[in-house]
Every structure is written in structure tokens, then in C-alpha cells.
């Protein structure tokens, strides 16, 4: 067994440390700050005696106040109130951990630690918070219980009157204070705290009044998906392993790599790409609440689409572009019986380039379903397409900056004269793949980066390859556009989905073929893509972590009223498995509640009957609780009431009836004197009963009075009172 004091200080330090870790893992605080706080935490047990001195205590208080003033000033000066408030709370926690002497000090430290965790809940919504919560609950519960024990010891030993605290310290150093029973109780309590926390978490109504703010998450910083993309932007994110999207296929085997199309860009100014087709129109919804991208008369199901359910992380700095496999024909929000409870109405929009975006909170994830049809690239069919393009297509997708003759010559060389656009596009794609090299960190001239890539450097990343192909195609009059999205992905065996990282961001090309539509070409060398998809040896671990992370985001961070009602309905379904009559086969629906309510209201005297049943149930419950409490309530180890005491009280009543009441200021003996004077006949039994009472009431020793004897004396008194006369 460990020494009590050592155990208590150790568990307390761990509790505070977890609070610090939650803050540190948010990434908002530097290692130096949190390292200093941790150093104070572990120095505390060795220096706390120093702070007993009055001078040290005063100095510390002065430092705390001054630091508070500085933190307040900084908060006002920078406007970053949250950061400086939390920083000050960390400072207070570090200072307090140096001064832990009494149980009260520990409680203050836990309060600060709890505030650290609250702050962590605000600034760190990641999985690390969830991972930290479990040990935090365990440590906090144990710490609080140990502190309770410590305070008991301190109170017992009169620590208030022991300035040196030596006696208390000696006792706290004992090893026998913690028995196995205490640890068993602690484990049980921790489990109960955890369970009740979860119940509260899942069942507390998510009203989300949002007077001051709305629920949100920190989005992933992402470039390359805005309306204007400068050449080279992707190079910054190409090695970032953060997961941005998870894709689940409905009933089809999952194959990688996936090409998740995002948005297209049409106008090139020599340095950056811009989207000019910004006019948005809402998508029409079919009978199954699916939004149709095209105006095809065919039913969506008849197109045999590939159905993908996508969980898209919130992204910062990009419009809400929806990703999906190429040729999307429909989009849908997850079906729910309680969709009416959604706080925000999501709307799907499509622009002139058929890129689909969505409105909604910018800093929350999106879960949606995409229906895509597979592209047909049969050469015969492609070669049979016309070479004539509409003016609209020509004006948008054949736009070029100042034409450079050498690029045009290059395009002709690569495509070959007179070839069909399909063959020309294929030839340029192959040429770029074969003649150019993939490189992440290649440097290109700022004046004309594309010319630099094509004629000087001859290496670059996907944006350069895709941009080069589009410019080359447009030089020979083939309408084309650059498309940004993700390519790659790794299958997660635990979750049954494919996840794509920021590093999978990719650019490719779409070429317009009249009668067919946009066809995908990818000029980036495949070797480079294979290299990018290399797996690290701990893939299994990362897969499991990502699966937990997905669960954390969906069921904890983004848990909302809709999910809550679904969750409760699920519980009802579990309880109601035997009787499906009351609810539909597919489970409890919102309308079922309404139906039930109407049925109950329609019953004659239904309300009254329900009220009576409720009241009766309440009364039975209260009665049961009272009886249960009585059965196990604490009791006094008391011998039955002494017959002498009982008899004396009866005597007082009898005498009071005869007009001889004992005054409050009168002692028993004085009262006896009055009785003797005024009721001489009753003097003897009254004397006997009074002395028997005094013996019973004030004598801690000796046997209790004999019940029979006392009763006989009382009877004698009754007879005397019945026959006797009162003296004047």
C-alpha cells in the first residue's frame, strides 16, 4: 500500500495534468507555457512547506494579482479574451499546485482543473478531448474522495489549531488509511459517474437556443477549392495527412483509388484559375427526396447510379463544394423521420458548370449521398462525336490568356494534326505523362509559371499537369476545364469506408464532347500518385483511430436534436420489440407520437383517467420510498424508554388535570415540594415517582426502574388523587 499523502498528491497531479493536456492538445498553447505549468505541478509536493510562511503567501498573492492585471490588459489590447482567460486559469492552476497543504487547497485546485477542461471543451473539439475525458473522470472522482478522507483526518486531528501541521502530516503518511474496501467503492463510484454523465449527455435536450453563438467546429484549412485558385496552391497541402472526407458505398465493393470530383474552373489568366460560371439555381427534388442534377426524364434508379454516402469535414476558406464520383446525377441529405427538427435547412445548388454546392453552417461537417453514373469512354463512340461546339462552350472553355506561339506549336506537336479531339486529348495526356516529371517542390517563374513548366523546368505537381493540358487543348480549339477534387483514398477495414486526406487533393482535366458531355482526363504521371499513396507501417492503428474519430464527431461533437430523437426512438424500439402494433414496422416516427397523443385525447375521460393513474402511481412511489427509507434509516441504539420517565410524565399530566402544573422555572424537587404541600395524600407516590425519574434521567449507571413497581406507584397516585383533597 502506498502512503496516503503520496497517493493523494499523485492522483491530484494526474487530474490537473489531464486538464493541461486537453488544453495543450488544442494547439493553442505553446509547449513552453504548458511545460512550465507541468513543472510547477510536479514541483509542488517538494516546495509546499515553503508557502506556509506568511511572507511567501503574501508574495504569491501579489504575483497572482499582478499577473491577472497583465492578462486582463493583454486580453483587452489584443481582443483575444478567451485565450488570455484560459492562460490565466492555467497560471492559477500552476500556482495553486505549489501551495497544496490542506484539503481546501486541493478542492480549489480541482475547481481550476475543471475550468481547464471546460476551456478544453471550447477550444479542443478533437478526439483527444474524448480520450482525455475517461481518465479525467477516474482521476477526478478518486481525487475528490481522497480529499474527503484527508479533510476528515485534518478535522479529526484539529488541523486548524496545528500551525506546523506536523501531526497531520505524520498521520497522512500512514499506509493503512486506504483499505481495499475504499478502492472497491471508488471503482463503483467512478463507473456510476461515467454512466450518469453519458446518460445526461445523450438525453439532455439539445435545445440550442444560441443566444450568443451556434454549435461549430474548427474547419480544416483548405486551399484549391475556392472560386479563384492560384497555380501552386495544392503544393502546400499535398503532404498533409489530415482526413477531409470519408466515403461509403452502398452495396458495392470498395475500390481505391477514388476520384472525388469537386469543382471546375474555367478562366485562366496566366497565373491563376477562376470560376466564371457562378450563376446558381436550386435543384429539383424527386419523390424520394433526392435532388436531381440534370433534367433527365429517366428515373434516377433506372440510371443504375453508384451510390456514395459521404462524410465531409468542415473546410475553412472554401465554398461548400460537394464532392462525389464524376458525373453526379443526384444528391440527397440523410433520410430521417425527424428531419423537421433540423435547425438549418440545407439547400442544394448547381451552377452553370454543373458543380453542386450546398448552403448551411460553414463550420460543421456535412453528411450527404451522391448518385453518380459511370462514364462511357468507348473510343468508337467518342470518335463519332461532332467537332463543332456551341458559342457558349467556345466562349467559356476555349478562353486563353495572351497566346504564346510556342505553346500552340507544342500542342499541335503533341496532339498531331487533324486528329479527333478525343485522340488529341489522349495524345496530350500521354505526352505529359511521359515527358514530364512529377515533383512537389519544383520552383516556377512568377511571370508565366505554365510556360516555365512546359519549356524549362518540365516538372511540377498535378495543378501544372492539368493546367498545361487544358491550355494545350484550348490552343487547338478543344473546350476543356480544370477540375479540383481528391484522388486516392485508403480503405478503412474497421469502418467499411474509404477516407481521403488533404494529401489526396488533386487536379485533373475535363474535356467537352458534344452529345456525351464532360469526359475526364488525368495527365499527372501515375507513378507520382502511387508514391503519394504509400502506406505507413502503422496503418492498422491509424484506421482504427480514424474510425473512432468519425464516431466521435458524428455521435458526440455533432450530436444534435435530430440524432437525439432518433436515439430515444431507438431506445423505444428496443423496449417495444414485442409489440409492434403501436408503432410502425420501421420504428418510431414523429407522427406516431402525434397519433398517440390524439388517441389519448380522444378517449372519453381519458385525461382524467390518466391524471388519476399518475397521481396514484406517484403516491405509491412516495409510500414505497418512505417505507424503504424507514427500513434502512439510521437509528439510535436506545434501550426502551425507561418506565420511570414514562410514569413521571403521566404523573405530570394527572397533576396538571388537578390544577397543579409544573412551572418551567421549577425543578422536579421544587415541584415535589409543592405537591407535598398541596396534595398531602399524594405525597408518597409523587415522591417515589419523582426520585425514580431523577435516577433514570440523570444517572448514567444503575438498572432501569421496575416497570411493575412503577405502574403500581402510579396506580396508587391515581387513587390518592381520586380520593384526596387539595390543601389550600
Amino acid at each position: 500500500m502506498m502512503r496516503f499523502d503520496r497517493l493523494h498528491r499523485g492522483v491530484s497531479a494526474l487530474t490537473v495534468l489531464i486538464g493541461f493536456a486537453v488544453l495543450y492538445l488544442s494547439g493553442e498553447f505553446s509547449t513552453a507555457i504548458m511545460g512550465g505549468a507541468c513543472a510547477a505541478l510536479f514541483t509542488g509536493p517538494f516546495v509546499h512547506r515553503f508557502f506556509v510562511r506568511r511572507s511567501a503567501s503574501i508574495s504569491t498573492n501579489v504575483v497572482v494579482v499582478l499577473t491577472g492585471i497583465v492578462a486582463g490588459y493583454q486580453a483587452f489590447a489584443t481582443g483575444n479574451f478567451l485565450y488570455y482567460t484560459i492562460l490565466y486559469a492555467v497560471f492559477l492552476g500552476a500556482v495553486k499546485s505549489l501551495m497544496l497543504r490542506r484539503g481546501g487547497d486541493f478542492m480549489q485546485l480541482y475547481a481550476l482543473s475543471f475550468l481547464h477542461v471546460v476551456a478544453g471543451a471550447v477550444i479542443n473539439p478533437g478526439l483527444s478531448f474524448g480520450v482525455a475525458m475517461f481518465p479525467y473522470v477516474v482521476c477526478l472522482t478518486l481525487s475528490l474522495m481522497l480529499t474527503n478522507l484527508r479533510r476528515g483526518i485534518e478535522d479529526n486531528l484539529g488541523a486548524d489549531h496545528d500551525p506546523t501541521g506536523e501531526r497531520v502530516e505524520l498521520n497522512l503518511a500512514r499506509k493503512d488509511l486506504i483499505r481495499p474496501g475504499f478502492l472497491t467503492v471508488t471503482v463503483g463510484i467512478t463507473a456510476a459517474v461515467f454512466l450518469i454523465s453519458l446518460v445526461f449527455f445523450f438525453l439532455f435536450p439539445r435545445m440550442g437556443l444560441g443566444f450568443f453563438a451556434t454549435q461549430s467546429r474548427f474547419g480544416i484549412a483548405m486551399t484549391g477549392f475556392s472560386d479563384t485558385v492560384t497555380l501552386g496552391d495544392f503544393g502546400n497541402i499535398i503532404e498533409d495527412p489530415e482526413v477531409v472526407m470519408r466515403v461509403k458505398f452502398d452495396g458495392r465493393p470498395t475500390t481505391t483509388p477514388l476520384r472525388m470530383r469537386g469543382q471546375s474552373l474555367d478562366e485562366y489568366d496566366g497565373k491563376s484559375w477562376r470560376k466564371t460560371t457562378r450563376r446558381l439555381r436550386g435543384l429539383n427534388m424527386d419523390s424520394k427526396a433526392r435532388y436531381r442534377v440534370d433534367n433527365n426524364e429517366m428515373r434516377l434508379d433506372d440510371l443504375d447510379p453508384v451510390v456514395q454516402e459521404i462524410y465531409l469535414e468542415p473546410m475553412v476558406g472554401t465554398p461548400r463544394v460537394l464532392f462525389g464520383l464524376p458525373n453526379p446525377v443526384g444528391f440527397k441529405r440523410p433520410s430521417s423521420s425527424f428531419a423537421a427538427l433540423r435547425p438549418t435547412k440545407w439547400r442544394f445548388y448547381m451552377d452553370d458548370a454543373h458543380d453542386v454546392s450546398v448552403t448551411g453552417p460553414p463550420r460543421s461537417s456535412i453528411v450527404y449521398t451522391v448518385y453518380s453514373v459511370q462514364q462511357s469512354r468507348e473510343p468508337e463512340r467518342m470518335r463519332s462525336t461532332e467537332r463543332v461546339y456551341s458559342d457558349l462552350i467556345n466562349s467559356i472553355y476555349n478562353q486563353l490568356p495572351a497566346t504564346q506561339p510556342r505553346i500552340k506549336a507544342l500542342a499541335r506537336r503533341m496532339a498531331g494534326d487533324g486528329a479527333h479531339p478525343f485522340d488529341a486529348a489522349g495524345a496530350i495526356e500521354r505526352a505529359l505523362k511521359d515527358e514530364y516529371q512529377y515533383a512537389l517542390n519544383s520552383v516556377h517563374g512568377e511571370e508565366d509559371p505554365l510556360a516555365d513548366f512546359l519549356f524549362r523546368n518540365r516538372q511540377g505537381h498535378c495543378e501544372y499537369f492539368a493546367s498545361a493540358m487544358v491550355v494545350l487543348l484550348r490552343h487547338i480549339g478543344i473546350p476543356s476545364r480544370i477540375v479540383n477534387g481528391f484522388y486516392g483514398g485508403e480503405a478503412n477495414e474497421y469502418g467499411g469506408y474509404v477516407y481521403l486526406r488533404k494529401a489526396d487533393a488533386h487536379s485533373w482535366v475535363e474535356v467537352w464532347f458534344p452529345g456525351v458531355g464532360w469526359v475526364t482526363f488525368d495527365p499527372t504521371p501515375p507513378v507520382a500518385l502511387d508514391l503519394r499513396m504509400n502506406r505507413s507501417w502503422w496503418r492498422t492503428v491509424t484506421d482504427a483511430v480514424d474510425n473512432v474519430k468519425l464516431w466521435w464527431y458524428r455521435w458526440v461533437v455533432e450530436y444534435d436534436l435530430e440524432q437525439q430523437v432518433e436515439f430515444v426512438a431507438g431506445l423505444f424500439r428496443l423496449l417495444d420489440r414485442r409489440d409492434k402494433g403501436a408503432f410502425s414496422e420501421s420504428g418510431l416516427r414523429w407522427k406516431d407520437f402525434k397519433k398517440l397523443k390524439h388517441r389519448l385525447k380522444a378517449l372519453p375521460w381519458g385525461k382524467w383517467a390518466l391524471s388519476v393513474v399518475a397521481i396514484v402511481a406517484l403516491l405509491i412511489g412516495i409510500r414505497w420510498l418512505v417505507l424503504r427509507r424507514r427500513r434502512s434509516s439510521p437509528a439510535v441504539l436506545c434501550r426502551p424508554q425507561d418506565p420511570a420517565v414514562k410514569a413521571y410524565r403521566t404523573m405530570l399530566k394527572l397533576l396538571a388535570r388537578r390544577g397543579l402544573a409544573r412551572k418551567d422555572s421549577e425543578t422536579q424537587v421544587e415541584f415535589l415540594g409543592r405537591v407535598v404541600l398541596q396534595l398531602p395524600d399524594a405525597a408518597h407516590p409523587a415522591r417515589e415517582l419523582t426520585w425514580a425519574y431523577l435516577r433514570a434521567a440523570y444517572s448514567s449507571t444503575g438498572p432501569a426502574a421496575d416497570a411493575a413497581e412503577t405502574e403500581a406507584t402510579l396506580q396508587s397516585l391515581r387513587q390518592s388523587l381520586a380520593s384526596g383533597q387539595t390543601s389550600p
Binding site: 475525458m133 474527503n148 478522507l149 476528515g152 439532455f204 439510521p634 439510535v636 434521567a697 448514567s700
Partner: protein, 353 residues
């Protein structure tokens, strides 16, 4: 607020008494703040921390209740205490549970008088089926009869957020004796120096008193033969009556209602108690005569209790000056020749006369 708390504590309608500790108040405030923040922001992690704080509060309530179950407290054994002095009393608590121990239990007797100071008996752990004994210290503000309402069993287990208490009814009375002070040597010597009203008389005893003529029935062994011979008549030795060796404390427990109110009489009562105890400890026979009753002289610890019992509930009589004289006349020394010590109330405190 104090009155409400007092009512709550006295009320039998609420068998469980719940009070917040300082930390408990902070936790409740934090929880309320968290709840507001969570509802306002819709931040689920705040809901999670809010859930944790509520869980701690609920578990605290449930466990404190469970911690008090199956406990039995021994009633107060001592029925005599001394006023204005912390008196330790041993309290025994039995844990009747079969499995789990009880932690951090406090026990104390609950009296009706709000001026009482009670330091509870503390039990760190009461193992199942075992009992524990700890000292509880009580301080009574004044003498008199105090009504014991019951025994309180209390716990702040497990988190020290709340203190839950149960008052187990155990009605009884405790007689609180007046405070005993060391007797000033001057006062004590007054009684011994003869300045008190010492009137020795003949009677049964051991000390020589005088010589008188022989009467029929006298013990022949007491005849002084030499002196009888010289006087030509039989004389016998006479002994001083034992009563003359006793001392009566005369206390006028009345006041005409001066500026000090009943205070001077209370001081006089304490003075009388102190003197009585002092002489009894010195081996003398001491009696008590007051305006409201008397205790016949006696000696030993039992007599001490008798006198202190009488003084404990001695009323303070408030009267006018004639009434005061009448009461003073009633407080007359016994006729057995015992020495007497007068203790009267003065506005500036008790005095020995």
C-alpha cells in the same frame, strides 16, 4: 436565512438535512453556468462536461444517503454536564451493513439551544458489522435543563460538496451544572477563619465540647471521675455536635432587576457552586439553602451532585426590593449550628458575605 435553516433543522417533516459546503456551492454555480453555456452555444462537449458535473452532484446525493444507511448511534449516556466548558463525550456508532463500509461519518447530539457549541465525533471508516467510538465535545452556554432532540448522523462523503444529516429522535434531558471556578483563597479563608457565623453546640461527635452534670441515660464511660470527685457530683464529658462541623452555603437567588438583569444572580450561582464543590473536596459536610429550596448537608461526590443538580435548575427570582427582603429572610441558616457562607447577587457580580 438563518431562521429558515433553523426551521429546517428543527422540522421533523424533513428527516434529511442537506447543506452545501463551500465547494458544493462553487460546483453548483459552475454547473449552472455550464448548463447556460451549453444550451446557448449548443457545444456538445460543454454538454458533456455539464453532464459530468451533474453526475458528480447526483452521485454525491445518492452516496451520502447510502452512506448513512444501516448506521446506529448510541444515545447520549452522560446526562450531567457543566456550563461554559467543552466537555468531551464518547459516542458509539455501529455499522449494521453487511458489505460496504461507511466513510467520513460525523455524529453529535442535537439540542434545542442554538447557543450550544458542538464538535462532532468523527469516524473515518466504519467497517461493515463493526462499531466505532469517537469523542464528541459539547459546550453549553449556561446552566439549566437542556432538551436533547436526538442524535445527528452526518456525512459529506464522497466529494465534500454537500453535507447530508439525519436527526434520529432520541428525546432526553441533560442537566447542565453551573460552571465551577477555582475558589479565591480569600473567600475560602473567610469560612475557616471564624468570621463566618460558626456557633458550636453540644451533641454527638468526637471533638471535646465541655463538661456538665451527669444525667440519667448518659454513657457511663463519659464520666470524668477525677472532676466528679473534686465537685462532689458526677460530671460527664460533652462532645461537639457533628452539625457544627458542617457548612451551609446560603444563596439568595433573587434580584430586583438591576442593570445587569439576571447576570449577577447567575454569577452568584456559579460562586455558590464553586464554594460548595471546594468545601466538599476539602472533606467537609456542605448543605445549600436558597430562596427556592435547600439541600441538607452531606459530604462526598453524591452530595456534590445533589447541590449542583439543585443549582442547575435554580430559578432566578425577579422581584422588587420588599420581595427581595422577604426572600433573603427565607434564606436563613439551619438551626444545627452549622457554619454558613452567604452568597448574594450584586450588580457587579456575586459576592461572599
Amino acid at each position: 436565512m438563518g431562521r429558515i435553516r433553523e426551521f429546517f433543522w428543527r422540522s421533523a417533516f424533513f428527516p434529511r438535512k442537506l447543506s452545501f459546503t463551500r465547494e458544493g456551492k462553487i460546483v453548483v454555480l459552475i454547473s449552472i453556468g455550464l448548463g447556460i453555456a451549453a444550451v446557448n452555444t449548443g457545444n456538445n462537449l460543454l454538454y458533456m462536461v455539464f453532464g459530468l458535473s451533474l453526475a458528480l452532484i447526483i452521485i454525491s446525493g445518492i452516496l451520502s444517503e447510502a452512506n448513512l444507511r444501516g448506521l446506529e448511534c448510541q444515545p447520549l449516556k452522560s446526562r450531567r454536564m457543566v456550563a461554559r466548558r467543552q466537555t468531551p463525550v464518547a459516542l458509539k456508532v455501529v455499522c449494521r451493513r453487511k458489505r460496504f463500509p461507511a466513510f467520513s461519518i460525523e455524529a453529535w447530539p442535537l439540542f434545542d439551544d442554538p447557543g450550544m457549541t458542538v464538535e462532532p465525533a468523527r469516524f473515518l471508516e466504519l467497517r461493515p458489522g463493526r462499531d466505532g467510538t469517537a469523542a464528541c465535545s459539547m459546550g453549553f452556554p449556561h446552566r439549566g435543563e437542556f432538551e436533547l432532540r436526538g442524535m445527528v448522523l452526518s456525512t459529506a462523503f464522497p466529494f465534500s460538496f454537500f453535507r447530508k444529516s439525519v436527526v434520529v429522535p432520541a428525546p432526553a434531558s441533560v442537566l447542565v451544572h453551573p460552571a465551577i471556578h477555582p475558589v479565591e483563597s480569600e473567600a475560602a479563608s473567610l469560612a475557616r477563619s471564624g468570621e463566618d457565623e460558626h456557633r458550636p453546640v453540644a451533641g454527638r461527635g468526637l471533638e471535646f465540647f465541655g463538661v456538665r452534670d451527669y444525667r440519667e441515660g448518659d454513657n457511663p464511660r463519659h464520666i470524668l471521675h477525677r472532676q466528679s470527685a473534686s465537685r462532689q457530683s458526677q460530671v460527664v464529658r460533652e462532645f461537639e455536635d457533628m452539625g457544627s462541623r458542617s457548612l451551609s452555603v446560603l444563596l439568595v437567588n433573587a434580584t430586583s432587576g438591576g442593570s445587569g438583569g439576571a447576570g449577577p444572580v447567575e454569577d452568584a450561582v456559579e460562586e455558590a457552586a464553586s464554594l460548595a464543590v471546594h468545601y466538599l473536596e476539602a472533606g467537609e459536610q456542605v448543605g445549600l439553602v436558597t430562596g427556592s429550596g435547600s439541600v441538607t448537608p452531606g459530604s462526598g461526590p453524591a452530595q456534590s451532585e445533589r447541590i449542583l443538580d439543585c443549582l442547575a435548575t435554580l430559578p432566578v427570582l425577579l422581584t422588587d426590593v420588599p420581595g427581595l427582603r422577604e426572600i433573603a429572610r427565607r434564606v436563613r441558616p439551619p438551626d444545627d449550628g452549622a457554619r454558613v457562607v452567604w452568597v448574594t447577587a450584586r450588580d457587579d457580580g456575586g459576592s461572599v458575605g
